[in-house]
Symmetry: C2
């Protein structure tokens, strides 16, 4: 889904805002795209497959830049570290089951009734950041969730 057109796109956008194009920034973006929903630490692991010298602080700083550019987003899917995902995936929000820990990505259409109502009351929701916790009606609990 991310072809050469999009690639040059974000590199230009990077420069347009005065940022420089570095190997680290390319690697972090690619790692996020390949991993799906990944924590900064997991991103670092993926990046280090290509270059062992990259530092965790660079990953944090880069993820911040990429999010500012609208290339990635983060969501809080657990009580631990946040996860980052590429925006080239369609925008979506998340369902997280506290029993089986499963994460489901849901189309924003489902939220329309809610967002319409909130907008009528003067609030524009950030759908891409939304996470709904709860539990599946049928699921197998994992070990952690005694």
């Amino acid at each position: 889904m991310a072809g050469p057109a999009e690639s040059s796109d974000w590199r230009e956008r990077l420069r347009a805002r005065g940022y420089r194009l570095t190997p680290q920034r390319e690697m972090v973006l690619r790692a996020v795209e390949e991993l799906g929903h990944a924590t900064p630490d997991e991103v670092l692991g993926k990046v280090r497959e290509q270059s062992a010298a990259v530092n965790i602080s660079t990953v944090y700083r880069t993820l911040e830049v990429l999010e500012e550019l609208g290339l990635v987003r983060h969501a809080h899917l657990s009580d631990r570290a946040p996860t980052y995902h590429s925006i080239s995936d369609h925008e979506h929000f998340h369902l997280v089951c506290r029993n089986c820990q499963k994460v489901v990505s849901v189309d924003p259409d489902v939220l329309k009734p809610l967002t319409d109502r909130l907008e009528a009351d003067g609030f524009v929701a950030d759908v891409g950041h939304l996470t709904v916790f709860g539990h599946c009606t049928t699921c197998t609990p994992t070990e952690e969730s005694s």
Copy 2:
């Protein structure tokens, strides 16, 4: 809203589950009720107005117990520490504006279309834990949100 009936109620529930009634637990619960939405650290501050010896680790452990008993709930209203609020407030979810940082508590009714739809698909949402980030259509940004 929290009369003597409710008070004895939770004390009994505490004992019924094998927990002991301690001054710390009473003070922490009262602090949460009085503060509205408060971080563990803020709860500690309030508790220490009555007893300077109480420790932060006790606050954490107590909030966990109180939440297990269904007396308080927590929500993530910022990128920092979570906030706890009493359940004797009606159940609600939160709207947080990223411009003015205002927090609005909203009646769960507004979510009905969403939760119905999710339940039809086999997912029961934890409404009381939900926080929707976004921005007011009319609001004055605060200093922090450059």
